[in-house]
């Protein structure tokens, strides 16, 4: 199964998050996570929920040129939180892929005309 690569460019005030489907089938604009004050993941979650439809799991990496992950506890906490969210996402994709496979077989049995 192809995965979506999520790249995080970490800055002091923001994290730029870009998405790569690796097969050119989808193109998603990047999301900018403002980390100056409170952190709002709503926009990111919206992207992830769209990925559910194409049933692709994600791989992720953090590019931290200023070594902020080690120096800022806030940014590190954000990174850890993001990782947890991605892992949950992948686990959900795994669950629904397993269930979906079973359902598709069943549906095919009920829809003989689709096989014609």
């Amino acid at each position: 199964m192809d995965t979506i690569k999520i790249k995080h460019n970490v800055d002091e005030e923001r994290i730029n998050i870009s998405f790569d489907t690796q097969d050119g089938s989808f193109s998603f604009p990047s999301v900018e996570l403002d980390i100056k004050t409170d952190i709002d993941f709503n926009e990111l979650l919206l992207k992830l929920s769209e990925f559910i439809e194409i049933k692709k799991s994600v791989e992720f990496e953090f590019i931290d040129s200023m070594d902020l992950l080690n120096t800022s506890s806030k940014i590190n906490l954000i990174k850890v939180t993001l990782e947890e969210i991605y892992m949950n996402y992948n686990s959900l994709i795994q669950e629904c892929t397993n269930v979906k496979g079973g359902e598709e077989d069943k549906d095919d049995d009920e829809l003989p005309f689709l096989n014609q």
Partner: protein, 791 residues
């Protein structure tokens, strides 16, 4: 059967004596026995042998001497050549003269008079003529009918044409006469001519008698009309085969003279009531009374058992409105009844509700007092329309209840909202602006569970119904239709699968958000105290915003709904067309305003709109009367009490008759309404049998003479009618076929059947009915003779 029934009559039959006075007039050999057998075969009950200007006394003697009971009855008659010398024309017209007399002595006497007249006039036997004056003089002491030809050849009009046709018409009108040999197609023409001479009162009455006889000239070919052997269409008259019945027929031809073909139709009696058998009853004499399929009137003195018979009949046909058990408390289980379709008597006859109109004494006025026209509607066959109209009011009632229910729900929602927290505390403001941070929760996506549930139901129902549709025995799907159905089923299954994917995706999204929120909540919990306080403050701010939005939303809806109720009117009207002239209208009038009625339930110091009042109520600025608090439940109770009269009003809309624009039973007298009610019910009812007990009690005399009698005369040939009455006009002008005379002698009631054409019965009828003599006399004078003579 004892009532007036139809019988065939033929008062114009020749014998071979006509050959003596007219050359070659009679064909074949006359044999009175052959004629008699032919009359019996054709069921002729009353006849006459009418030769030209002569009487065949031998034939009369031969018939009378062998006459047995039940044989056709013979009246003496002769066909005269009548000349009109004043007209200066030599042509004559033929007129059949029928005498009341029946005995052989009278035949001989009348014949002798005729022969003596022509001897005196020195007439040649083949050229006998008589003037109308000579005829009067000759038979001055006799009762006779004058039945001239009025069409065809030898018409009474011929000698009068160009001389004085008016004189001719006047003469015919004044005599007890009928016209013979007038074609159906020219009747109207005759009627119009005679109408010109009638007084105003009678101009609209179509009561010129026309009757055709066989004019048979060959007994072997009877009933052929003439020498050439044309078929004869028999005429019938109503009553007993007597001279008096003919008199009645000529007085009231519309009711008493009909072609046999029309009578045949009338004699299809349906399941009308045929007879009733009284046997071993405590207060009623043993007897069997028969009922005419037409008009039966029940008459008698006070307490003679008229209404009792009316109610016994109602009871025996199972009519719910009869008052036998409640009013008379009489056991009639031993009495038997029979319909025209029954062979034997039985305990009762069943009729459908709509087959019978049953109007008790005083009922008509009660209809208006009770404000219910449901009987009229039912008996006019408009039950379905009535039900539809009532359903309309039920729906409107339900709509009103729904409006009130929604108002209470909105009020309840308002109270709940007002109890919400609308404060933004300073501590929260400070916390919100603090430098610390927290992870904002992920917004939930729109809840789709209800939408998904509805879609699932649609899909399952569709699949189920497609299967039923495919296998239904009544649809008979052909191959193409079946293929189309299968394709549709496949489409639905495809959509079901598609829908399943959509649901799955949605649930995954929700799951992702939930899991993410759990992660964020855990992270927030690990943050500093200030961060956690900031998170809580933000949450309270969001809650405040939500409360405010929710309050605005409810206020907006309450305001709109209050406006709907404030402008609510219940002026509803539904019409049920009973006839082209009369509608029954079901109506609600907006007698009390709903808003005002609601506001009356509150303690108010000044007047406000309903919306403002409810706001004041919800914020406890005003109070609900007589209730401890302003809860939604108490508001509901109060509104229910306040609006009860209005809501209940919807169950019983006002019913009234609409005669024309601006002319309704609401603005007319009870008497007038009763008349219109009866007229409508009688003219439009689908019932086969009509019962009315003493209609004259509620009706004006003018209505009875001008309307009711005409309606009855028309209806009685379509429906069986039973009328209890004291009114001689209804009996005589209504031309009752069957008069049931009730007598009560020493608490023993007797029912006897009378007929109008019987002279003995006439006397007894006159004795019982007030003004009966006068009415009989008036009826005999068809026209205002004095006025006619002056014209």
């Amino acid at each position: 059967m004892g009532y007036s029934d139809w019988f065939k009559v033929d008062l114009h039959i020749h014998t071979d004596y006509s050959k003596k006075t007219k050359t070659n007039d009679y064909q074949g050999n006359f044999d009175v026995d052959v004629l008699k057998q032919k009359l019996i075969d054709n069921n002729v009950k009353l006849f006459s042998m009418t030769d030209h200007n002569i009487i065949n006394v031998d034939a009369y003697k031969a018939y009378v001497s062998n006459c047995k009971e039940g044989d056709p009855k013979l009246l003496i008659g002769c066909e005269f050549d009548i000349e009109v010398p004043e007209s200066n024309k030599t042509i004559t017209y033929h007129s059949v003269i029928i005498f009341e007399n029946e005995s052989i002595e009278d035949v001989e006497l009348i014949s002798k008079k005729i022969e003596e007249l022509y001897t005196r006039k020195n007439s040649v036997i083949t050229d006998r003529k008589i003037t109308i004056d000579e005829l009067y003089e000759l038979f001055n002491s006799y009762n006779f009918f004058f039945i001239p030809h009025a069409g065809n050849t030898k018409s009474i009009l011929d000698p009068y044409k160009g001389y004085d046709l008016k004189l001719c018409q006047q003469m015919v009108l004044l005599m007890p006469s009928a016209f013979e040999k007038v074609k159906e197609s020219v009747r109207q023409h005759y009627n119009e001519g005679f109408d010109l001479l009638k007084t105003y009162d009678f101009q609209e009455k179509d009561d010129i008698p026309y009757i055709n006889f066989s004019d048979n000239h060959n007994c072997n070919k009877y009933p052929c009309t003439n020498k050439d052997g044309d078929d004869h269409q028999f005429y019938c008259i109503k009553g007993q085969p007597t001279f008096e019945s003919i008199r009645f027929a000529f007085i009231d031809p519309k009711s008493r003279i009909k072609k046999y073909s029309d009578v045949e139709v009338l004699q299809r009696s349906d399941n009308f009531i045929h007879s009733m058998q009284f046997h071993n009853h405590s207060i009623i004499e043993d007897q069997t009374i028969h009922f005419s399929p037409n008009l039966n009137v029940i008459i008698g003195g006070r307490s003679s058992g008229k209404s009792l018979l009316f109610n016994i009949l109602g009871y025996k046909i199972g009519n719910v409105k009869n008052e036998l058990l409640t009013k008379y408390k009489l056991d009639v289980s031993g009495l038997k009844i029979k319909s025209f379709l029954d062979i034997d008597f039985k305990d009762s006859i069943s009729f459908n509700l709509h087959d019978v109109i049953y109007i008790n004494q005083g009922d008509i006025v009660n209809y208006f007092e009770k404000n219910s026209l449901v009987d009229l509607i039912r008996e006019s066959g408009k039950n379905d329309d009535y039900k539809t109209a009532l359903d309309f009011f039920k729906v409107e009632k339900s709509n009103l209840n729904q409006l009130i229910e929604t108002l209470v729900e909105l009020y309840s929602e308002l109270i709940d909202n007002l109890n919400s927290n609308f404060s933004l505390y300073n501590k929260d403001i400070e916390s919100i602006f603090d430098d610390s941070y927290f992870f904002k929760p992920i917004d939930q996506i729109t809840d789709k569970e209800i939408s998904f549930s509805n879609s699932s139901i649609i899909l399952e129902t569709l699949l189920d119904n497609i299967e039923k549709f495919r296998n239904n025995e009544n649809f008979n799907l052909d191959a193409d239709e079946l293929a189309l159905t299968n394709k549709f089923a496949e489409l639905v299954k495809y959509k079901k699968a598609d829908f399943s994917t959509l649901q799955s995706l949605y649930h995954n999204r929700v799951e992702l958000i939930n899991r993410s929120n759990e992660i964020l909540a855990k992270k927030n919990a690990s943050l500093s105290l200030k961060s956690r306080e900031k998170e809580s403050s933000n949450h309270r701010l969001a809650s405040l915003k939500s409360n405010v939005m929710s309050l605005f939303n409810i206020l907006n809806r309450l305001q709109k709904h209050s406006e709907i109720i404030e402008s609510y009117q219940y002026n509803f009207e539904k019409s049920i067309k009973i006839s082209s002239e009369v509608d029954v209208v079901l109506e609600l009038e907006n007698f009390e305003n709903v808003k005002d009625k609601i506001l009356e339930g509150f303690v108010l110091t000044e007047k406000h709109s309903l919306y403002q009042t409810l706001i004041l109520l919800a914020s406890n600025k005003i109070k609900i009367k007589n209730l401890p608090d302003n809860s939604a439940d108490n508001l509901k109770k109060k509104l229910s009490t306040q609006l009860k009269p209005i809501v209940e009003y919807f169950d019983k809309p006002i019913e009234y008759l609409k005669y024309a624009e601006e002319n309704t039973s609401k603005n007319n007298s009870p008497g007038y309404n009763s008349e219109k009610y009866l007229e409508t019910i009688l003219k439009n009812g689908n019932a086969k049998i009509i019962f009315i007990d003493q209609p004259e009690d509620n009706l004006g005399n003018r209505f009875i003479t001008d309307n009711l009698i005409d309606i009855i005369r028309d209806l009685k040939f379509q429906k069986q009618i039973f009328l209890v009455t004291h009114n001689p006009s209804i009996v005589v002008y209504g031309d009752a076929e069957n008069i049931i005379m009730c007598t009560n002698i020493e608490k023993k009631i007797t029912y006897e059947q009378f007929v109008l054409e019987d002279r003995v019965h006439q006397k007894e009828i006159c004795d019982v009915l007030d003004g009966g003599h006068y009415i009989f006399d008036q009826r005999s004078r068809k026209y205002n003779i004095k006025k006619l003579l002056q014209s």
